[in-house]
């Protein structure tokens, strides 16, 4: 158990929990940034930006 505890947490495991877990609070008093879909969209953008170096198979070379 201690071995697991000491090891540095991988970022993806953390993001699974911080961006998909946790209590979501919405309403006028918040800045509404915690909105689930919003964050998910941002993360997708992030993932595709990570993938940007890899040429897309759908892009036709003209």
């Amino acid at each position: 158990m201690t071995v697991v505890e000491r090891r540095e947490v991988a970022l993806v495991d953390l993001l699974d929990r911080l961006l998909a877990g946790g209590v979501v609070i919405t309403g006028d008093i918040t800045l509404r940034i915690a909105d689930v879909d919003l964050v998910r969209i941002d993360l997708n953008a992030l993932i595709s930006s990570v993938n940007a170096q890899v040429p897309s198979p759908f892009e036709e070379s003209r």
Binding site: R17, G21, T30, A34
Partner: protein, 259 residues
Amino acid sequence: MTGLRYVYAVCRPFGTPLQAQLTGVGGDPPRLLPHHDLVAVVSHVPEADFAEEPLRAHLEDLDWLTTVARAHQGVIDALTTVATPLPLRLGTVFRDDSGVRSMIEAREENFLRTLDRLEGRVEWGVKVYVEPEPTPKEPATPAPKPASGRDYLRQRRMRTKAQEDLWQRAESFATRLHETLSECAEDSRLHAPQNPTLSGASGRNVLNAAYLVPRAESEEFVERVDRTKDGTPGLRVELTGPWAAYSFAGEETAGEEGA
């Protein structure tokens, strides 16, 4: 104005002080904001970074997101040693202390109920990967050259068949593992399989699950996971935790319906 309020978690009041050197998001030490029977754990953060627009832009910056996620987790980890925190989603920001208090006031009953459900529990993460096809180790003896077209096709079919068998085995293994672990957990959640680009892990992630387990039964749970690691050639099981109950902080729980 002394900036905005970033809220990490809500807890019941706890006696032990947080580590003095602990820094949170934006380098600000986490502070306790008590209200009625609850305590919000907050940091003061600059508007320039945490107002809606800049925050949205920052969330697409992986380095920034990493720093904030690590700081958030650092605070939750520290809280876990002195209390059972109810973690909030990353990036939950309020304009001021009174905004935080109103939020607690509005959700007080829910918070107390969820905190009761999570008291003394931790979350364990279990992932199953299908290992990438091993690269042939014996370059000295190359595979026999196909003698004919039919021979070639047969060799190819055998390779494809082996891969299909592995997938089928992975699927039934993951299903069985999830069933077994769900039985000895109070609740479970399935996360989406992880993107290998972000995780950098080798192999394909076929199960990414979280289990809610009483702290006292954690050792048993971990041993159970460890036992499954043997005798699964081509598959890899990974355990993470113990985590604060991030994946079980929401209101509705699938496990409770059937109970």
